[in-house]
Each structure stands twice: as C-alpha cells, then as structure tokens.
C-alpha cells in the first residue's frame, strides 16, 4: 500500500504527464495539496517509488532557465498506476458513509 506522500507524488506526476520532473512535481504538490514539499522529501520518495518499480526516471535535456542543468524526468509505470488506483479505491471505500463536517457547538 502506498503512503500518503507517495500517492500525492504519483498523482502530481500523472497530472503533469510528459512534463513531469522534479521542480514541476514539487510545484504541483504545493499548489494542489496546499502543503510545503521539500526537495529532500521529493527526491527520497522518488527514489523509493523507483526502487519499487512504480515510476521510471531519466535525465532530460538541459535548459537555459535551469543554468544549463538537466531535469530528472518522471514517468509512472503500469505498476505505479495500479498502486495509485488501489490506494484511491481504498480511500474511497473507507470514506463511504463518513462525514467530515465539523460540528460546531451551539452552546454559548
């Protein structure tokens, strides 16, 4: 079963598709999840996902706005899609019939 941050990373990479690489994934996570994503968390999680065979990474072409440095491109593997889907379904199942509406006390 995936961890929460692993799922966030896979979702961001899936949304970015061909344009998925370190900085873009980080920005996507920060924008959509509204939480800060450190470079350390991003790269160590990427390594873990890669060692599990859930993503594949390779070095892309260097670009001028990066000071001529290459990007670490990311692609989700079939196994990664299955794992993310399994996580999503599990969360959906476990959330059925559960309301997270915050009940405020009316008593003064």
């Amino acid at each position: 079963m995936l961890g929460e941050f692993e799922y966030l990373l896979l979702s961001a990479a899936a949304r970015l598709a061909e344009g998925a690489y370190g900085a873009a994934i980080r920005q996507e996570i920060e924008m959509t999840a509204g939480q800060r994503c450190s470079l350390g968390a991003l790269y160590t999680t990427l390594d873990r996902l890669e060692s599990k065979g859930l993503v594949a990474t390779w070095m892309g072409d260097p670009t001028p706005q990066r000071g001529g440095r290459p990007k670490r491109m990311v692609r989700i593997t079939e196994k990664g899609v299955e794992a993310a889907s399994e996580f999503y379904n599990a969360v959906a199942r476990v959330s059925q019939g559960v309301s997270w509406e915050v009940k405020r006390s009316t008593a003064s």
Binding site: G22, R26, A41, Y43, Q65, P70
Partner: protein, 278 residues
C-alpha cells in the same frame, strides 16, 4: 540567491551523486529558491544519509559486524604485534645475538615466523571479508558503517596502545618499551592488516553491487561468533594445534558465504538504479 549562498549550495551538493546534483541545482535555479536552497540541499543530504538506517540490515551491519568485528580485528592486530616485535628484535640483533639465547627463551625462529605470517594473512583476509560483508549487507549505510569500524579501530589504537599479550617466551619485556615497539609498529599493523584490507573489502562489495540477504547474514554472524567464542582466548594469541583448522574455518567460510554461494545464502544481485547509470 546571494553569491555566498550559491557557493554554499554548490559545495554542499557535492555530497550528492553527480546526476542528482545537476537535477537538484537545476530545480533550485528554476524555482528561484534563494538562500533557502542551502537548507533544501542540507535536508536532502540528511534524508539520504538517514534513509538506509530505516532498514534493519543497516543496524545489523553496524551492531553485528562493524563494531564487534572491528574491535576483535583491532585487538588481534595488537596481540599479533606483541609477537612480531620479538622477531623484529631478533632480526635487528642477529649479528650480535648469542645463538644459545633463542634456545634459552624457547623461541623456534622459522616455524614462529611462518606462523606469524600465516596469522597476518589470516587477519588481513578476515578484515577484507569484514569489509566485504559490511558493504554487501547494507550498501546505503556502507559509508557510515565503514567510518564506524574505522572509529572503533582508532579508539582501540588510542586507548589500547598499552594492550599487549603476555610473552610466551622467557624474555625481558623491558626490551620492548621503545616507542617503535609500543606505538609505531602496532599502528603499522593496524593500518596494514586491519584498516586497509577492510576498506578494500567495502570498496569491492560496492563495486560488485552484491547484497547479502538478512537470513544469510544472521547465519554468517552466528557461525563466526561461535567460532570466535570457541577459541576466543587463544586465537591468534597462542598457536594451538588446531590453528590450521581455525584458518580453514573462518575466512573461506565467510568469503564463500557472501560471494560464491548465492542460492545457498540468498545472495541477491542489486541492479544499478537508473539515476546511478545515468
């Protein structure tokens, strides 16, 4: 980012693998991380360093191999030094030495030298094997574990310079109070027979990308511990009649266990991760 901040970030990033370094510095440049870049890289390095220690094998390597074996190797090399120096003294003074002196102190020169050389070879091989196991068990933690083993060896050298076995010969021990015999020579043996072979073993394991499964490691440690405990008080301080058996038992056993019998000991080949190969 200020020039100093950028310089710091680049200096810190040298701890990362070359391919990853470029990707990380590129990401930081692209998102204009500013002076926070230094903290980001430091955080990544900290995570990289601590990540392997989440696995139990890193702790098994540290507590089961690095500390106890480095300690045993180090003490053994000191004990061996306490035998070698007598022969060095004989070699240095052979011209003026009364031939009956050797008989008087009970020293048999050539068999003694042969045993010392075999023991030295044994110690070196054991140190190499220890390094090889250290590098094979937990590759990610191999660097820190190697440092830990070096630290143990250095601690023994610092605090154990006075550690000397009792001479099995009737010789005036005051002869060997010279700094060369008490400090320099033991340190040469520590470096030559323990540190150098051990680090070469680690390097070889990392180069081969081999990895011992936890089950195999537990067997290796258990067998080696039993063998060591059985003759702890004797090997290599005194040469018992079964020293050859000891020689045959330890080093080939460990070496064969970790390198040439993968199916028996669950040895796994670890593939390069893609960032490494890039």
């Amino acid at each position: 980012m200020t020039r100093t901040g950028w310089w710091l970030a680049r200096t810190l990033s040298r701890w990362l693998k070359p391919a990853e370094r470029d990707a990380v510095l590129g990401d930081l440049a692209e998102c204009g991380a500013g002076d926070r870049a230094v903290l980001e890289i430091a955080g990544l390095i900290a995570r990289r360093t601590t990540e392997p220690w989440r696995e139990s094998r890193a702790w098994v390597a540290a507590l089961g191999v690095a500390i106890p074996v480095a300690l045993a190797l180090s003490l053994s090399s000191f004990a061996l030094g306490g035998r070698f120096d007598l022969f060095l003294w004989v070699a240095r003074n052979h011209e003026t030495l009364d031939p009956t002196t050797l008989d008087d102190i009970g020293l048999t020169l050539w068999p003694g030298i042969a045993r010392l050389l075999v023991s030295s070879l044994f110690l070196g091989c054991w140190a190499w094997t220890c390094g090889f196991v250290l590098g094979s068990v937990a590759r990610g933690a191999a660097g820190l574990n190697a440092w830990l083993a070096c630290l143990v060896v250095a601690a023994v050298a610092l605090f154990g310079l006075n550690f000397r076995g009792r001479y099995p010969y009737a010789v005036d021990e005051g002869l060997f109070s010279l700094a060369f015999y008490t400090v320099v020579f033991p340190l040469i043996l520590q470096v030559g027979l323990v540190l150098a072979p051990m680090l070469l073993g680690v390097r070889e394991a990392l180069r081969n990308h081999s990895r011992v499964a936890l089950k195999g490691l537990v067997w290796i440690i258990a067998a080696a511990t039993i063998l060591v405990l059985r003759n702890w008080l004797y090997w290599p301080f005194r040469f018992r009649s079964d020293w050859m058996w000891m020689y045959l038992a330890y080093w080939p056993f460990l070496f064969v266990a970790v390198s040439t019998a993968p199916s028996l000991w669950n040895l796994e080949e670890r593939k390069h991760d893609s960032i490494e190969s890039n």
